[in-house]
């Protein structure tokens, strides 16, 4: 029977299935660990006198909690410091490789996995973090898990899973646009159209000439936010772009083994005639830059339009209408207000969605030779030490610093504000991150999700601008 890529990866990893249940035991090839969702899992191992089955397939880094200021200074927040120290101790005790706060490979777990060549096509990859969907850009089945599951994978290198549905999203066009749009605009537009539960219970495979035309970094942005559409995983068929990205990375298989692997990886594609439970397609041509106006990522609108009324947004769904009313109140916005009339107080360029080198280059294009608006506080937080080093080689740090941006050390930072980088109540932020939930970037803070180019332009203009007319 014709199979999808997801079906194939699933079948390749089944260790055991039980007729009486929908659940199968799947082998996990790669386990990424960070400081926030792991301490209780390691405690569980200790209490039950269990070991880590495959420390050699497990990698840890610190990202959620770490300050983005000078790394030679001690961490002021004692609770964060303890959590970071706890991960160090756990990795030492259980023999796990840790990229600690001073490591040249430290960074956001979903940035460093790919850039170190740890994320490989056809693998199963998990992490106690919902944005693990990022790694699906390589044709790997990658998804976020809870702490109990982290403990289960540490102890057994396996997980009990119910097979998801196959969801195909076809992205056409976008190649001959006058104004190139960001892949962030594309994924925001998808979420806007299918909703935050549109992908629930499904693995999304992104297809079409648009996705094939993208670099790995741009594909990662799309897969990263699959979870915001409710899908645990996103997938892109690996191709030459994927293989060339991985060739020669620090931990990629070497020379002959790499070529052998590429031969195997070339078989990782959905068969002709494979059946999908759901199909959705969008045309990228003429897509406008996207801006979120509410408190979930489906509350998104074109930059050249106005805040919708709750009725326009909800289209007859009472629950959604109530959500929209609540969101407008929280965001302090009125229906009818043009997006380009909304001024911002803060700009955040960073996160596992948009803190890779290409994102920073995209943002720098709007900044070169300009100054950040006097009403705006703006910061750039590279996704990893390696991204930071590469960006500095290109002189991007100087472009941002000269314009008035802060240039920080790598971490999750203001995407979720677990470190000191937070919004104050009432502050409005143009952010390249992935969630605009209430209080996400700081209690009372108001988040608008946008692409790196849109965020950078907002920093300069002090308000949202349509970058198609502006750059």
């Amino acid at each position: 029977m014709a199979q999808t890529l997801y079906d194939k990866i699933w079948d390749n990893h089944v260790v055991y299935s039980d007729e009486s249940s929908d659940l199968s035991l799947l082998y996990i090839d790669r386990h990424y660990v960070h400081e926030v969702t792991s301490p209780q899992a390691f405690d569980g191992l200790r209490i039950n006198k269990r070991s880590v089955r495959r420390p050699d397939l497990t990698f840890a880094t610190v990202d959620h909690n770490v300050p983005t200021t000078n790394r030679s200074l001690p961490i002021v927040d004692q609770i964060s410091s303890l959590q970071i120290k706890t991960l160090e101790n756990n990795c030492k005790e259980f023999g796990i490789r840790l990229f600690d706060i001073h490591d040249k490979y430290q960074g956001i777990v979903h940035v460093i996995g790919p850039e170190l060549g740890l994320t490989l096509p056809g693998s199963t990859i998990v992490c106690g973090d919902s944005h693990t969907s990022t790694h699906g850009a390589f044709g790997s089945l990658a998804f976020g898990i809870g702490t109990s599951e982290v403990e289960h994978v540490l102890a057994t290198q396996c997980l009990w899973l119910k097979k998801s549905k196959n969801f195909e999203i076809v992205l056409n066009g976008g190649l001959k646009q006058k104004h190139p749009i960001s892949s962030k605009d594309v994924i925001l537009n998808i979420i806007r159209k299918i909703g935050t539960s549109g992908g629930s219970g499904s693995v999304i495979e992104y297809k079409g000439n648009y996705i094939s035309s993208l670099s790995m970094e741009k594909r990662m942005t799309i897969c990263n936010m699959s979870i915001e559409a409710g899908a645990r995983a996103g997938l892109v068929v690996p191709d030459d772009v994927t293989f060339e990205y991985l060739r020669g990375r620090v931990f990629s298989p070497k020379s002959e083994l790499f070529d052998q692997q590429v031969d195997n990886w070339k078989d990782l594609r959905s068969d002709n005639g494979a059946q999908y439970d759901k199909t959705f397609s969008i045309d990228i041509d003429n897509l406008a830059p996207q801006v979120t106006w509410g408190t979930n990522p489906a509350m998104t609108i074109d930059v050249d339009s106005a805040i919708p009324s709750p009725d326009e947004y909800s289209m007859g769904n009472d629950d959604e209408k109530k959500s929209a009313i609540k969101a407008l109140e929280y965001m302090n916005l009125k229906p009818g207000l043009p997006i380009t009339d909304i001024s911002v107080d803060r700009v955040f360029i960073g996160s596992c969605t948009n803190a890779r080198l290409e994102d920073l280059i995209e943002a720098s294009n709007a900044v070169k030779g300009k100054k950040v608006s006097s009403n705006v506080k703006a910061m750039v937080v590279p996704g990893s030490q390696q991204v930071k080093i590469a960006a500095e080689k290109l002189g991007l740090d100087k472009i941002f610093i000269n314009a008035g941006f802060e240039w920080r050390e790598p971490g999750c930072s203001m995407c979720l504000g677990m470190n000191p980088d937070i919004l104050q109540a009432g502050e409005r932020c143009a952010s390249t991150s992935n969630r605009n939930f209430e209080g996400r970037q700081g209690t009372g803070g108001r988040t608008h999700l946008v692409s790196p180019l849109m965020a950078a332009a907002a920093a300069i203009a002090g308000k949202f601008v349509d970058v198609r007319e502006w750059v």
Binding site: L25, Y27, R53, L57, S148
Partner: protein, 219 residues
């Protein structure tokens, strides 16, 4: 085991909460949380994810909706209404638990005293996390949930996991649940122990896929 108060048991609960008690049928009224698309950032905000245990999160549940910035309880939030105190069932709408995978959200609901969550639909990761912690999640049709919100908020809900029924007065509403998840709840099973019994299958998989697995080994 939990009642004897020995130091060892208390320590276990505090640090890990690994003891999965079997789910017992219960009767309770519901706490109506009439909002759709609730994300886990609302259930437990980021600042509480720095803690290292599995317990003690209950007082921070729905923190930003429950308290003002001085820490004073907000009167209009359901958890602060004396009418609803002590109720063990959370009634919600569609798409509950979206966003972050943080299991702290489930630990907070459990620590607060919720044993059952009843709604139209749930985010995948959140749904799994609940069952790992002994919380029963029940999905029901939108019109039935609507009915509960409008007419039965102050009725007793009898939750019968074995028969997969919610009974209100004499009316029974059936629900679906995966048989494996059900058996975990009914027996309070530790999933890891069950998997470790399959160690020979795991070894066999690793041997059969040696090239693929070893090519990813990094030590």
């Amino acid at each position: 085991m939990l009642e004897n108060g020995s130091k060892f048991d208390l320590l276990q609960i505090k640090i890990t909460g690994v003891i999965m008690e079997p789910f017992k049928n219960l009767t309770s009224k519901v706490v109506p949380l009439d909002i759709a698309n609730i994300d886990t950032d609302q259930i437990i905000p980021k600042q509480f994810l720095k803690l290292l245990g599995k317990t003690g999160y209950g007082e921070y549940l729905f923190f930003n909706w429950r308290y003002d910035n001085q820490g004073t309880p907000l009167e209009n939030f359901v958890l602060n209404s004396p009418l609803y105190s002590g109720r063990q069932i959370l009634l919600t709408r569609e798409n509950f638990g979206i966003g972050s995978s943080r299991e702290h959200a489930v630990w907070a609901l459990k620590d607060y005293g919720f044993k059952v969550i009843l709604g139209v639909s749930f985010a995948d990761i959140f749904y799994n996390n609940c069952f790992k912690n002994g919380i029963l999640v029940i999905k029901m049709d939108k019109n039935i949930i609507e009915d509960f919100f409008t007419t039965t908020i102050n009725e007793n809900f009898e939750i019968d996991l074995i028969r997969q029924q919610v009974r209100i007065n004499s009316k029974a509403f059936g629900f679906d649940i995966d048989p494996t998840l059900k058996s975990y709840l009914v027996n309070g099973l530790d999933e890891i122990s069950k998997t470790l019994e399959l160690a020979s299958h795991i070894k066999k998989y690793e041997d059969k896929n040696k090239v693929s697995v070893e090519s990813k080994s990094m030590i």
